[in-house]
């Protein structure tokens, strides 16, 4: 996770920036917990401003900020002053100035002549010389009410007192608190940063966010654990990979401090959330708290695990040293990709450059899981006998089959017409009916003419089936299909209808004999054979 500190500061910055528009209608709550501590954090921020100011002013005095570390000198001044406080004899201005001069001279030996000026600038800055040694004053914009209200905050860092042996320096409470204690934090400690964020979210009762933060805290702890594991692992493989004389012991000590602190914190957090859990009634909050408790418990176990590893770390080193195994591999990262690789390759002849770029590209592209055919597979496939065609042709027509309306054959009658005609004709199956009666029965339907036409065609079909087509094709035409099972007889009566003129046929259901059925079955068998 990136250092959350700037973000927090930024958030705070937004909070105190006076708005240019109309007066605020209400408090712009960033987060309840943020607002609660905004003033205190603002003050801590303001306390460091005199140092920033003295660094800026030093430039006017011709002092190069890059040669002399003025911030460190300012801290040293506070340290010196605080170190002498409470003893019988406090540090005088000269003593502090002398010590600072010595430190400054060490920072830039070639500019030692300037060192005394530098010390003077630092002390003057801390004493607020530019404002006649008055207190430093900063204005805090209080946004908690309806309107923003400015509120002064005044403080000193160092002050001069008159003592029996001349003027002595004392540090203010603010200077002591911030510069000795407040700034003594490991800002790069991601775990701690997450803990702060988590604390803030719990205070704000943003439990969902807190769950995520707790999960992140777990990851971060696992990460630390993994780094240590990697270190120990590397040591097991090759003692020479890490500097066990200086670097590793320092890192282990830092890790031990961290773990020690975190284990205490974990317990505190767990207790905090658990107590909230007991008092809370909202089921959502209870669920979120439960998840946080689980996560924190895991974080805690990671920390405990880390502690165990730390305790055994030295032992790993010693035993690895005894075994002195060879490293399986050692990763050497090159220095600068641009200068060491790109430029030489660009300057190289093409053939050489291709060798290098291929070596690079073939690895930079990462893994590929082979999915395409290998040469062997390809040869096998080419030698294989040609595949039998299983389907005659791709059935293009079938694509539309799912949507009959869209693909209706224009040569056929629409389905509603066929259905209506069938309904009319069915009456003839029950008892013989004249075509004129059937045509009259058609009149009521929506597409009367079409239905009548189909009924008429059916009657003609029943009277004289198209012998050439054979029965199987009969089924495909609407009239043929409708006419199956019907016969038409001509008894000489004349039909005079608006759509047709001729003989008024009588339609009735055909009476099939068992012999006929048998003959037809045999025909069918012959056809399939």
């Amino acid at each position: 996770m990136s250092d959350p500190l700037p973000r927090l500061l930024r958030r705070k910055g937004e909070r105190v920036t006076p708005s240019a528009g109309p007066p605020l209608t209400g408090p712009a709550v960033v987060s309840p917990a943020a607002d609660a501590t905004a003033r205190a954090r603002w003050r801590a921020l303001a306390l460091t401003d005199p140092i920033a100011r003295l660094v800026r002013n030093a430039a006017h005095a011709g002092i190069d900020d890059e040669l002399f570390d003025l911030r460190q000198l300012a801290l040293a001044a506070v340290d010196l002053v605080v170190g002498s406080m409470g003893f019988a004899r406090e540090a005088t201005l000269e003593e502090v100035s002398d010590t600072l001069t010595g430190l400054a001279a060490r920072m830039a030996p070639e500019h030692a002549g300037q060192a005394r000026d530098v010390a003077a600038v630092v002390l003057k800055g801390l004493l607020n010389e530019t404002h006649e040694h008055r207190r430093f004053t900063y204005w805090f914009a209080d946004l908690s009410g309806e309107r923003a209200r400015s509120e002064p905050y005044s403080f000193r860092l160092l002050a001069l007192r008159d003592a029996e042996y001349g003027p002595v320096l004392v540090a203010s409470d603010q200077a002591i608190t911030l510069f000795l204690h407040g700034l003594d934090v490991d800002l790069e400690d991601a775990d701690r940063a997450l803990a702060h964020v988590l604390q803030r979210q719990l205070d704000d009762r943003r439990f969902d966010a807190a769950v995520r933060t707790a999960a992140q805290a777990e990851r971060s702890s696992v990460g630390i654990s993994a780094t240590l594991a990697e270190l120990l692992d590397a040591t097991r493989r090759d003692v020479g990979t890490h500097d066990w004389l200086v670097d590793v012991p320092d890192r282990l000590a830092a890790a031990r401090r961290h773990v020690e602190e975190r284990i205490g914190e974990d317990d505190r957090f767990l207790e905090h959330v658990q107590s909230g859990l007991d008092a809370e009634t909202s089921p959502d909050v209870r669920a979120a708290s439960g998840r946080i408790v689980d996560l924190l418990a895991r974080v805690r176990s990671v920390h405990l695990d880390l502690e165990r590893r730390l305790v055994g770390a030295r032992e790993v080193f010693l035993s690895a040293q005894v075994r002195q195994r060879l490293a399986r591999r050692r990763r050497l990262r090159m220095l600068a990709l641009g200068d060491d690789l790109l430029l030489p390759v660009l300057a190289a002849p093409r053939a050489d450059a291709t060798v290098v770029t291929s070596a690079f590209a073939d690895r930079a592209l990462g893994v590929s899981v082979p999915r395409l055919v290998h040469f062997d597979d390809l040869v096998d496939q080419l030698w294989a006998p040609p595949r039998q065609r299983e389907a005659a042709e791709p059935e293009v027509e079938d694509v539309g089959a799912a949507d009959p309306d869209a693909e209706e054959d224009v040569q056929r009658y629409p389905a509603p017409v066929v259905a209506a005609a069938r309904e009319v004709l069915d009456t003839a199956r029950d008892e013989p009916a004249r075509v004129s009666a059937l045509l009259d029965a058609c009149e009521g339907s929506d597409e009367a003419d079409q239905v009548a036409e189909l009924v008429l065609l059916t009657a003609l079909w029943a009277f004289a089936p198209d012998a050439a087509d054979g029965e199987s094709t009969d089924e495909r035409t609407d009239a043929g299909a409708l006419a199956s099972g019907l016969v038409a007889e001509d008894d000489g009566r004349v039909l005079d209808h608006r759509l047709a003129r001729g003989r008024d046929l009588v339609l009735r259901a055909s009476v099939r004999t068992a012999a006929e059925d048998e003959a037809e079955d045999m025909d069918a068998e012959e056809l399939t054979a």
Binding site: L341, D352, A353, V369
Partner: protein, 245 residues
Amino acid sequence: MTAVAADLTEVRAAAELVAFGLRRRSRPVEGSEYRALLDRYRSELRFRDVVDTMAEGLGLEVLGTPRSGIVLAPEPSGPFATRLGDLRTMDAEEKLVFGLILLGIAAYAYPQDVDFDDPETKLVDVVKIDEFLRSAIDTLRVQEGEGPAGGHDGERARAAAEAYADLPQLITTQTGRRARGCTLRAIEDALGWLSDQGAAKEAPTLGPDVHHLTDRFRLLVGDSAGGAALDALRELRAAQDGAAR
């Protein structure tokens, strides 16, 4: 690794983790099997050894386990290797240009070795990569103008830079897109391949040509490709020095 018999269930779990690493789309989201295996790899030394050993046998190397998942690098001769030539049929010239582009993308994103330790995602832009490569070529020309003129062996000895510089920056198709044969299109293609390989990711919110480079690419370049290319370069130089003597 000491001679300890690995538990078969452990071997299976290790194989699963390697399989997750081979699948480019899988992500170790919270609560997933992948995530559990990844955490196990990070925290359990024994399991880590089993995974590393198994990967080694498959012609893979575990480069690291960033949050996005386990990063595997292929042995160039192994079954999982990706070669530039596999991605498209290309002639020697094209191959060189694409190689230079990939190197350029890496050099643009990670100029110093510390950048390989920085987990911040780098953003690259098609046009910026082209500008970066062309300015590197210009720098080179200035340097060569001062130094002894190299390359008197005809076409073969012409500097690789020329292969890139010869290409136009942009040719457009009738529909207004970038056509093949220009460097911007080649960079677009290269970034597309990297995206397919899970080494980059398009960032359409930041612009049509912008890509994130993933941790996978960072580790692949820092711990595998960069070293391999540098070795190749050193070998060539050693051979040239030998020939000169």
